[in-house]
C-alpha cells in the first residue's frame, strides 16, 4: 500500500501547500518553467544537485524528497472554515434532506449500511461494517474536544442554539448534555472493503458527494441506487451537534495517496458570530491555498497521531470510510443508555440486512456487520457480529436454500423452501421511442412455512439490488385458512441474474421507490420515465399473490361440488344458529372427587348458574366415561347441598339470583358396572321435567 509516491505528484502537492506556482519554483532554481512542469507531470526527474536546492526551497531535507512519505515543511494548521452567509440575505435553518427521514438510529443504520453495501469494492468478499458506540467523559472527553478545536466552534454553537427553530432546540439540548453531564456520545461507522471517499476536493466524485454537496447521489454504476444520496443526511441528523468527522482510506489514490484522508463537516443553521453572518456548514481541514478556494478548509492527509486523537483511527489498510458522529442520539428512542442504543443498532441491522448478511455454501455474504460499545476506550459491550439467524431464521433459511440451489417446486415437508417465478413486464423507457419493446423479468418468490417462534410472518418481503428490503406486503386473496408462512420476493439484481432485462427491471423498480426506498408505488420519476408503469406494478403485485397461492393456498372451498350460488348460500352448514338471544343454562363448572374405601365415588360439584326470574330445578346425573358408545349411568347413594342450593327428592333446587352453586354426592357402589378406580366419571345436570309418574 505504502508504495513510494510519484515524485511529480508529491512535488505538485508541495507547491500547492506552499502557495507556490511552478513558474516561481523555476525562477528560484533558475530553470525554465517547462522543466518544473516536466517533473510535476512525471515526464522527467530532477538531477541530484537540483534535489538539494528543491529541499532547501521547500524547507525540508533531501531524504524526505527521496522517501516522500511526508509533506514538506511544517504541518499546515488545521482549522474550521465557516461558509459566509449568502449575499442575498437568505437564511437556512436546517438541512431539508435531513428532514426527509425519521432521525432514528434505526434509519441511520439502514442508510449508512446501504451506502457501504453499494460501495463494496471486492465482490468476492463481504463489505464489513462496524458500528462503535463510544461514550467519553473526563480527561478523554477533554482531549477529544481539544483535538476537535472545540474552542473555535463554541461561539458558533452558542449563536446557533439561540435560534428558536427546531435545529436550535436540538442543539441546545446537545450542548446542555455536554455541559451538565460532562459526557459525549460518539457513534462511529466504519466500513472495510469499500471504495472510500475517492475523487477530487471540489469536482465530481464520491468525496465531494458526501462532503461538499446536498442531494447529489453519486452513481458509480447502475447497481447502486445512487450511494451517498439523500441517505447521507441521516449521518448529520443523528448528531445533536450536527457534527461528523470523516477518515477515509481510498481504493484509488488521490494526490498520489490513499490512507487517512480526513475532513470534518458541521451543519449548523444560519447564525451571526462577532458581527459576521454565517450561512450554515463549516469544514474542519487544511486551509486551501489555491486561488479559487482560498481559505476553504479541505481534506488533509493526517498522520496516525491526529486520527487517534480525533477517534478516527482505522484498524487496517483495507479501503473504506469511517464516519464519526459527534453527540449521537436516537431521536426516536426512549433511552440514550449505551446498552439500549447498542441493542437498537443490532436489531436495525438484522431487520434491514439479514439478506445481505446471508451466505451460501459457496457464495460469501455481501455484508458482515458488528456492533460494539466503549466507554473511555474500555469495552462495555464486547463486539458482536450481527447474526441474521437470530432474528430471522426462516427467512435466512429460505434465501440460503435459494443461493445453494436447494429449493423445491412444492412444499411437502417442514424446512423446505419452494421457489417459483413471478413475471414482471418492464415497460420500455419513454425515451426509447414508440416502437421500443419492454422486457419480461423473472423475479423469484421463495416460500417456506413459518417457524413457530416467528413473530412476524405471512408477509412477502420484497427486495431488489444488493438484497435490500424495500417493503413487506401482505398478500391478498390467499384464501381461507392458510398456515403461517414466510415469503421473500427477489427482483432485479437480487435474483443473482445479470441479463439486460434484469438491469431494466432493477431500474424500473428503483424508479418506483420514494427517497426512503420503502415501497414500490407510482412516483414522479416512474411516470416520467415509463409509459403504463402503474398498471405494470399492479400486475406485478397480483402475480406475486398468484404465485404464493399456488404454493401455499388452499383450493377454493366448495370446489368439490358447485351448484347454483343462489341455492348454495342457503345451505351452509357452518352458519350460526338462528336464535341469537338464547339464554344460558346451568352447567357443571368443576368436579373434584375421589374413590373412598368402600369403592364409591365421592364428588364435589360446582355449577355456574345464569340469572333468571324463576329459579331452577335440576337433575344431577353421574356416569362412567367410556371410549365410545353408550355411557353407563350410576345411581346416587347420597346427595347433599353445599352452597346456594337445596336437595329435594333427588333434585337440586336453586333460587333465582344465585350465580353459582355447589353440591356433593356419593355414588351407589351397587350400580357400578366396574370397580370405581377403573373408570373416570362425568357429572352433568339436566333440567328436571315435570313429574311424570
Amino acid at each position: 500500500m505504502e508504495d513510494i509516491e510519484d515524485f511529480g505528484v508529491w512535488l505538485g502537492r508541495q507547491l500547492r501547500r506552499n502557495g507556490m506556482s511552478q513558474a516561481e519554483l523555476a525562477q528560484q532554481l533558475k530553470l525554465t518553467r517547462a522543466a518544473v512542469s516536466a517533473w510535476v507531470t512525471g515526464r522527467a526527474q530532477p538531477r541530484a544537485e537540483v534535489m538539494v536546492r528543491i529541499a532547501e526551497i521547500l524547507e525540508t531535507d533531501v531524504a524526505t524528497l527521496l522517501t516522500r512519505d511526508a509533506d514538506a515543511g511544517s504541518d499546515r494548521p488545521i482549522g474550521w472554515y465557516h461558509r459566509i452567509a449568502h449575499h442575498d440575505g437568505g437564511r437556512e435553518y436546517g438541512n431539508a434532506a435531513a428532514f426527509a427521514f425519521d432521525a432514528s438510529l434505526a434509519v441511520l443504520a439502514r442508510e449508512a449500511t446501504q451506502n457501504s453495501l453499494d460501495e463494496r469494492l471486492d465482490p468476492r468478499r463481504p463489505v464489513r461494517v462496524r458500528f462503535t458506540l463510544h461514550e467519553l467523559t473526563g480527561e478523554h472527553l477533554h482531549s477529544f474536544l481539544s483535538a476537535l478545536k472545540w474552542e473555535e466552534l463554541e461561539p458558533h454553537f452558542a449563536a446557533a442554539a439561540r435560534s428558536r427553530q427546531k435545529v436550535g432546540r436540538t442543539l441546545s439540548e446537545g450542548l446542555r448534555a455536554l455541559r451538565e453531564d460532562a459526557s459525549l456520545l460518539l457513534l462511529r461507522i466504519d466500513d472495510y472493503n469499500a471504495s472510500g471517499l475517492t475523487g477530487p476536493e471540489y469536482e465530481d466524485g464520491r468525496y465531494a458527494a458526501v462532503v461538499r454537496r446536498q442531494l447529489d447521489s453519486h452513481k458509480s454504476n447502475d447497481r447502486a441506487g445512487g450511494s451517498y444520496g439523500l441517505g447521507k443526511a441521516t449521518l448529520w441528523a443523528a448528531s445533536r451537534l450536527g457534527l461528523v468527522l470523516i477518515n477515509s482510506t481510498l481504493s484509488e489514490p488521490h494526490e498520489g495517496r490513499t490512507a487517512r484522508r480526513v475532513i470534518g463537516r458541521l451543519d449548523l443553521p444560519w447564525r451571526e458570530v462577532d458581527g459576521v453572518a454565517y450561512a450554515g456548514p463549516a469544514w474542519l481541514g487544511e486551509p486551501d491555498t489555491e486561488k479559487t478556494h482560498e481559505g476553504v478548509s479541505r481534506s488533509w492527509w493526517a498522520d496516525e497521531r491526529v486520527v487517534a486523537d480525533l477517534q478516527l483511527d482505522r484498524e487496517s489498510e483495507d479501503p473504506g470510510t469511517s464516519f464519526l458522529i459527534v453527540g449521537a442520539h436516537d431521536a426516536a428512542g426512549n433511552s440514550d443508555m449505551l446498552e439500549d442504543l447498542h441493542a437498537e443498532l443490532g436489531r436495525a441491522l438484522s431487520d434491514n440486512f439479514w439478506a445481505a448478511m446471508t451466505a451460501g455454501r459457496s457464495a460469501p455474504a455481501m455484508l458482515e456487520a458488528s456492533v460494539r460499545s466503549l466507554r473511555n476506550g474500555e469495552s462495555v459491550v464486547a463486539e458482536q457480529r450481527v447474526d441474521p439467524l437470530d432474528r430471522h431464521p426462516a427467512l435466512v433459511h429460505a434465501l440460503r436454500s435459494y443461493i445453494d440451489g436447494e429449493t423445491v417446486e412444492e412444499l411437502t415437508a417442514p424446512g423446505q423452501v419452494a421457489a417459483t417465478e413471478v413475471g414482471l413486464v418492464v415497460p420500455p423507457l419513454r425515451t426509447a421511442g414508440r416502437k421500443a419493446a419492454g422486457g419480461n423479468h423473472s423475479a423469484v418468490l421463495l416460500v417456506t412455512p413459518a417457524a413457530d417462534k416467528d413473530e412476524k410472518h405471512s408477509r412477502i418481503i420484497c427486495m431488489r439490488g444488493n438484497r435490500m428490503t424495500v417493503t413487506a406486503r401482505s398478500p391478498r386473496n390467499l384464501g381461507m385458512g392458510a398456515d403461517p408462512f414466510q415469503a421473500v420476493l427477489l427482483a432485479g439484481f437480487a435474483t443473482g441474474d445479470d441479463s439486460s432485462t434484469t438491469h431494466a427491471a432493477e431500474a424500473f423498480l428503483r424508479a418506483a421507490e420514494p427517497p426512503e426506498h420503502d415501497r414500490w408505488g407510482v412516483t414522479e420519476e416512474l411516470t416520467a420515465a415509463y409509459a403504463n408503469a402503474p398498471r405494470r406494478l399492479t400486475e406485478f403485485n397480483s402475480a406475486m399473490d398468484t404465485a404464493l397461492r399456488r404454493v401455499i393456498g388452499r383450493r377454493v372451498p366448495g370446489g368439490d361440488s358447485t351448484g347454483p350460488e343462489v341455492l348454495r348460500k342457503l345451505l351452509r352448514l357452518d352458519a350460526p344458529a338462528g336464535v341469537g338471544t338464547r339464554r344460558g343454562h346451568p352447567a357443571v363448572d368443576r368436579v373434584v372427587g375421589k374413590v373412598d374405601e368402600s369403592g364409591a365415588w365421592t364428588l364435589d360439584v360446582t355449577l355456574t348458574v345464569p340469572q333468571r326470574d324463576g329459579g331452577w330445578q335440576l337433575l344431577p346425573v353421574v356416569k362412567f366415561d367410556v371410549r365410545s358408545g353408550g355411557r353407563p349411568s350410576l345411581d346416587w347413594a347420597e346427595l347433599s347441598a353445599k352452597e346456594n342450593c337445596e336437595v329435594v327428592g333427588g333434585r337440586l333446587v336453586i333460587e333465582p339470583d344465585v350465580r353459582s352453586a355447589r353440591f356433593g354426592g356419593v355414588t351407589a357402589v351397587g350400580s357400578h358396572p366396574v370397580a370405581a378406580a377403573m373408570a373416570g366419571v362425568i357429572v352433568d345436570v339436566q333440567q328436571a321435567r315435570e313429574a311424570s309418574t
Binding site: 411437502t412 370446489g559 341455492l567 348454495r568 342457503l570 336464535v579 358408545g629 377403573m678 339436566q686
Partner: protein, 325 residues
C-alpha cells in the same frame, strides 16, 4: 364436561402437530395440512387408488410435570379412530435421547376408513400398580379427511346436477318427474337437481331481471327448506345413547344440522336437553305432530323462505302494474 379420574392426571398441555404426510410413498403438499385447523386432507387430485397414507407426528408433552409426577412407565401413543368403520389403530410414538418432542408415524389404510378419521394422542402410564392409565390427552384431536381436497373442518353439502330420466344413474329413473331430490343416505347430504326438468338449471344459475331472480330465489328457498327438514329428520334418526337413554350428538354434518336447528325447535332448552326431548317425542310420538310444525318453521327460517317470498310477491306485483299501465 370433563371426566374425573381416581388417579392424578396431567394438567399441562399436550400439543400435536402433523409435520408431513405421504400417500403410497409420494409426499403430500404441505398446503393439504392445516396446522391451524388441525386437519389433514389425504387427497391427491391425480389419484384415487391409493392404499396407504403415512402421517409424521410431532408431539410436545409437559415434560417437567411428567418427570416430577407420581407415574411410572410413561409412553405416548397416537390413536386413529373412525366411528363409521369401527376402526381403531394405535401407534406408539418415541422420544429420542436429547429430543424434546415425541415423534412417530401413523399409517392410514384406505380400506379401513370411510371418510373422516380422528387422530388423538394420549399419554399412558402406570399409577398405584395399575398399568395403562390414560394420564392425559390432546385437547383437540386432528382430523384426517380422506375425501376432502382442502384441509378444513367444515364440509359443505353437495349439489349435483343429474339427468334423472336419461342419465347414467339408474336409481334416479323412478324420480324422473321430480325437479329435485334430497339424498341424506351418503357420507354427505346431496341435493340432486334434475336436468331433464326443463328450465330448472337455467332458472337457478342464470336468472335475469327482477322477476326471474325473485322466482329463482323462491325456488332455491323451497329446495333448501326441504333439505333442512330432511337433514334434521335424518340426523335425529341416527343417534347413539347412554345407558339411561341420553342421546349423544352424532358428529359430522348431522351434529351441525342439529346444533343449528334445535334451539329454534325447542327454544329455552339447553342443547342436550333439546336433543333428548326431540328424540323422546319422535320415539314416543308424544307431541310429535307439534314438533313437526316447529321443524318446518325452523327449516323455512334457515332457507330464508319469508324473505324470498316477500321479494317474489313484490316483483310480481310490480310486473303486473307494468302490464296494466
Amino acid at each position: 364436561m370433563s371426566a374425573v379420574y381416581a388417579y392424578p392426571t396431567l394438567v399441562g398441555k399436550i400439543e400435536v402437530a402433523v409435520r408431513g404426510a405421504s400417500m403410497d410413498g409420494k409426499p403430500l403438499q404441505l398446503s393439504l395440512i392445516s396446522q391451524r385447523d388441525q386437519v389433514v386432507a389425504l387427497h391427491q387430485v391425480e389419484r384415487d387408488d391409493w392404499t396407504e397414507g403415512v402421517l409424521d407426528l410431532e408431539v410436545s408433552l409437559p415434560t417437567e410435570e411428567l418427570a416430577e409426577g407420581p407415574w411410572a412407565g410413561v409412553s405416548c401413543v397416537a390413536v386413529l379412530t373412525e366411528g363409521a368403520t369401527n376402526t381403531r389403530v394405535v401407534s406408539r410414538l418415541e422420544r429420542r435421547r436429547g429430543d424434546t418432542h415425541w415423534r412417530g408415524q401413523v399409517r392410514v389404510r384406505r380400506s379401513t376408513h370411510a371418510s373422516r378419521a380422528l387422530l388423538d394422542v394420549s399419554v399412558v402410564g402406570s399409577h398405584g400398580g395399575v398399568d395403562g392409565r390414560i394420564l392425559g390427552r390432546a385437547d383437540t384431536p386432528w382430523l384426517v379427511d380422506l375425501l376432502g381436497r382442502t384441509p378444513s373442518r367444515q364440509r359443505d353439502l353437495e349439489i349435483l346436477e343429474e339427468d334423472f330420466r336419461d342419465g347414467p344413474e339408474e336409481w334416479l329413473r323412478p324420480f324422473m318427474d321430480a325437479p329435485w331430490l334430497i339424498d341424506t343416505t351418503g357420507e354427505l347430504p346431496t341435493i340432486l337437481l334434475n336436468t331433464s326438468f326443463e328450465g330448472l338449471s337455467e332458472l337457478l344459475s342464470g336468472a335475469r331481471g327482477p322477476l326471474e331472480k325473485a322466482t329463482a330465489g323462491l325456488v332455491a328457498a323451497q329446495i333448501a327448506g326441504e333439505a333442512w327438514a330432511t337433514m334434521f329428520h335424518s340426523a335425529l334418526s341416527d343417534l347413539e345413547f347412554d345407558d339411561d337413554g341420553t342421546p349423544h350428538f352424532p358428529g359430522g354434518w348431522r351434529e351441525s344440522v342439529l346444533r343449528s336447528m334445535l334451539p329454534e325447535v325447542f327454544p329455552g332448552l339447553p342443547l342436550h336437553d333439546a336433543l333428548r326431548e326431540a328424540h323422546d317425542c319422535r320415539g314416543a310420538g308424544r307431541g310429535w305432530a307439534e314438533v313437526q310444525s316447529r321443524i318446518e318453521v325452523a327449516a323455512g327460517k334457515r332457507s330464508q323462505m319469508p324473505k324470498n317470498l316477500v321479494a317474489t310477491i313484490r316483483a310480481v306485483s310490480r310486473a303486473q302494474e307494468g302490464t296494466y299501465r
